[in-house]
């Protein structure tokens, strides 16, 4: 990392991209030193959206934190809920009824589709397409959002998962609705790809830009689609086989160069794989309970839930990477220590390496292709 302090006062043009800027996806700031349009140094500045998430959770009963995890990565609260629920279940040793486990997988994959669609849309916005891909993505996302609202009560802040299950059962109508979404989405993806994938301008802008070598990605702890675009086969759904992921047949798409285009296309392929998982889950889902009876009293009286002293780390493959929740219990109703391993934050650490020597416009799309959400980065 170049020390940007040394460059201050030099001939270079110093520009602050953010915290108020159309394409920093929130209140992220990039301090950039430019020579012409070429980036010579880049200093990411985080923390504008710090909301004390971890300390708040350490002063709340375990159940109450679930609502706060929605606010981490606000594009896919379902995945956030999943990770936290996994961590608490590990800590307290709760079992999850089978139907609930299926519902969880369905919701997590729908959240992944939503997230990837939004990411591609906004990446194209960063590339300068005037909102058309975003609105097409919104059109499809809206259907999934409607479903989320029907099952959880809220479109984005779902707060749907509970320890040992989920809050509400899926009705038959919900399931047919999901089936319809799953059957219609491939046609939309075809259209979306016709609009984007082969577009020469997009290819010119994205190919060989912001290359992230595989070894650097591994060393920096990058996870998720960004890592897989660099050609590293690592997916926690396969590694941990948490939830029910061992039951489904799906592949892990890998990129070759690790540039922005690979990151874009790997996500399109991941949506297709998610659809495969959804199809299998929808055909296999059994009847039954959706909430472990043992946990019900704890949800009614959250302060009665005092897990035994110990620690647990629950992690999932969130759409952005490895989302981990680390919990340490000291036998009181509140966790003694609570930590979130936010993929957005860790993935952001290689931003400078990817941007150096590129143009200003490239920095914007590289940032866009990492897929950060500031709620998660700054917590």
């Amino acid at each position: 990392m170049t020390n940007t302090k040394d460059l201050e006062g030099s001939q270079m043009l110093e520009i602050n991209f953010g915290p108020q800027h159309p394409s920093t996806h929130g209140v992220f700031r990039m301090k950039v030193f430019l020579e012409g349009e070429k980036i010579c140094a880049l200093d990411p500045v985080m923390g504008y959206l710090h909301r004390n998430h971890e300390l708040i959770a350490e002063n709340l009963p375990y159940a109450a934190t679930m609502a706060y995890t929605d606010r981490l990565d606000y594009f896919n609260s379902m995945a956030n809920n999943f990770g936290y629920a996994l961590a608490v279940e590990k800590l307290a040793g709760f079992e999850v009824p089978e139907r609930a486990a299926y519902i969880r997988v369905i919701m997590a994959e729908l959240a992944r589709i939503v997230n990837h669609l939004m990411l591609i849309g906004f990446l194209l916005n960063d590339l300068g397409a005037f909102f058309t891909p975003v609105l097409y993505a919104f059109r499809e996302r809206e259907k999934i959002m409607d479903l989320f609202e029907e099952v959880s009560g809220s479109r984005m802040m779902c707060n749907y998962f509970r320890f040992g299950g989920v809050k509400r059962d899926l009705t038959a109508e919900n399931l047919t609705f999901i089936k319809r979404i799953v059957s219609k989405l491939p046609a939309f993806l075809e259209e979306f790809e016709a609009l984007l994938t082969k577009n020469e301008i997009l290819c010119m802008r994205c190919q060989n830009v912001g290359v992230l070598p595989a070894d650097l990605a591994v060393n920096a702890g990058i996870t998720g689609p960004v890592l897989r675009a660099s050609g590293v086969n690592y997916d926690i759904r396969k590694v941990d086989e948490y939830g029910l992921y061992d039951r489904f047949h799906f592949k892990i798409p890998l990129g070759q160069k690790g540039d922005v285009y690979d990151r874009y296309y790997v996500r399109i392929l991941e949506i297709r794989e998610s659809l495969k998982i959804l199809e299998q889950a929808l055909s296999q889902i059994p009847q039954g309970e959706v909430l472990n009876k043992k946990t019900l009293p704890f949800l009614k009286m959250p302060r009665n839930f005092k897990p035994a002293t110990g620690e647990a780390y629950g992690r999932i493959e969130s759409p952005k990477g490895e989302l981990g929740y680390y919990l340490v219990s000291d036998g009181t109703p509140q966790p003694w220590r609570y930590h979130v391993r936010a993929p957005s934050l860790i993935n952001l650490t290689v931003l400078e390496e990817m941007c150096l020597g590129q143009k200003v416009a490239d920095a914007i799309i590289i940032l866009g292709s990492i897929d950060i959400v500031l709620g998660e980065t700054d917590r």
């Binding site: 520009i15 394409s23 300068g128 005037f130 020469e200 301008i201 160069k257 143009k359 416009a361 914007i364």
Partner: protein, 395 residues
């Protein structure tokens, strides 16, 4: 075209109705005013017509753009103010007028104020030579086309003024990009017009339209190989000249916030926008004149034909905006210098060939030349050609 004579008369009357209206007004004035006032009145009438047309066109272009892009994105676009949102531009105008005018504390006040004022001037001045219809060119300059190119090239200076006077780094970057882009694209644009000048042997916009005259057998220049290629190049350059996507780098929203007009608000901002839209209109109007036969066309009044063709071209610009992502700076330059410029240079001899070789053979030759040169240019620019990639699916 077989048409009963009385219909033709009616058509002629409708066609020249606007011209006749002006003549009638002047006659009326001539009865009781000295001669020189009549000349003055003639100038004033034409001037007022243009001064009113420019902003009016701009206002409704914004509405058209928002509507079309809305439909492209499967939404309505503005539909609240008036029927189909027809009063939306007026609402926007009122908003712009009443907004606070913010000038940065460190800005160069005078230049900051002058930039938006100056930018409208060339945008309005080019309206002078646009042939809106039969006998509806404000000034029939014999160097009309050159005048158009010259005046529209002034536009860079007010953009510079705005970007420099704002004392904002985004504005500065936007200004630099504008300069580079405008200079680069002016060259292929000017050269793409050369075949038209060669064929019509005139620089006057009126004469150029007249050489494309023809009733149903269309003699528009776009129906020749060099005309088609020239039109495509001209149109792409026009899109770049008025900073519209995919060449909107000077005001690239996702990178430079708003480029050179980042620090402008209220009416000054509106003036920048007005200039941009009026430029888009005149550039499309000139494209119509040069390649699409201008106001030529059967059945309808000539000015209707002109506006129809021009708005069709503007719709294509809007369509581009709704579809394409933006180029990067180096790609933009490369596209102008390494692709468009050689193609225009090839286009000029092809046009000369057309002049000397019988038509059928010329078609064959020109298509062959263009195909080979296009292929060659793509090969030479292989750095910009997308790669084919295979994505392995791991377990």
């Amino acid at each position: 075209m077989s048409m009963p004579p009385f219909l033709r008369d009616i058509e002629f009357a409708v066609d020249l109705s606007l011209v006749n209206a002006k003549g009638w007004c002047l006659d009326l004035l001539g009865h009781f005013l000295p001669d020189w006032t009549v000349v003055l009145a003639s100038i004033v009438i034409s001037g007022v017509a243009i001064l009113a047309l420019g902003p009016l066109v701009m206002m409704y272009l914004t509405l058209l753009e928002r509507k079309v892009i809305g439909r492209i994105q499967n939404r309505y676009g503005p539909n609240r103010v008036g029927k189909w949102g027809l009063l939306q531009p007026i609402a926007d105008g009122i908003k712009m007028f009443t907004k606070e005018d913010i000038v940065p504390a460190q800005a160069d006040k005078i230049v900051h104020f002058l930039a938006p004022v100056v930018i409208v001037v060339p945008a309005l001045m080019v309206f002078l030579v646009v042939p809106f219809g039969e006998r509806m060119t404000a000034v029939n300059l014999n160097i009309g086309l050159l005048y158009f190119i010259a005046v529209s090239s002034i536009t860079t200076i007010p953009i510079f003024m705005g970007s420099w006077a704002s004392r904002n780094k985004y504005s500065l970057l936007g200004g630099m990009r504008t300069a580079a882009q405008m200079i680069s694209y002016e060259i292929p644009m000017t050269l793409s017009v050369v075949p038209v000048i060669m064929m019509s042997q005139s620089l006057s916009t009126n004469t150029i339209v007249m050489t494309q005259v023809g009733d149903l057998d269309l003699h528009w220049f776009i129906f020749t190989p060099w005309g088609l290629v020239g039109f495509l190049i001209y149109f792409l350059c026009a899109v770049a000249e008025c900073n519209r996507p995919p060449f909107d780098l000077p005001e690239a929203e996702s990178e430079l916030v708003a480029g050179f007009h980042t620090e402008y608000s209220g009416m000054k901002f509106a003036l920048f926008y007005m200039a941009e839209y009026m430029n888009a209109f005149t550039l499309c109007g000139i494209a119509t004149t040069l390649f699409l036969g201008g106001w030529q066309g059967p059945f309808f009044p000539s000015w209707l034909w002109f506006f129809g063709k021009t708005f069709a071209l503007i719709c294509v610009m809007i369509w581009f905006r709704g579809t394409l992502p933006r180029f990067r700076v180096d790609q933009l330059m490369g596209f102008a210098w390494k692709f468009l410029l050689p193609l225009t240079l090839i286009n000029i001899p092809v046009a000369a060939l057309w002049f000397f070789v019988p038509e059928r053979l010329a078609w064959l030759y020109s298509i062959a030349i263009f195909a080979v040169s296009f292929w060659g240019l793509v090969k030479l620019n292989c750095a910009f050609v997308p790669e084919k990639r295979i994505y392995p699916l791991a377990d």
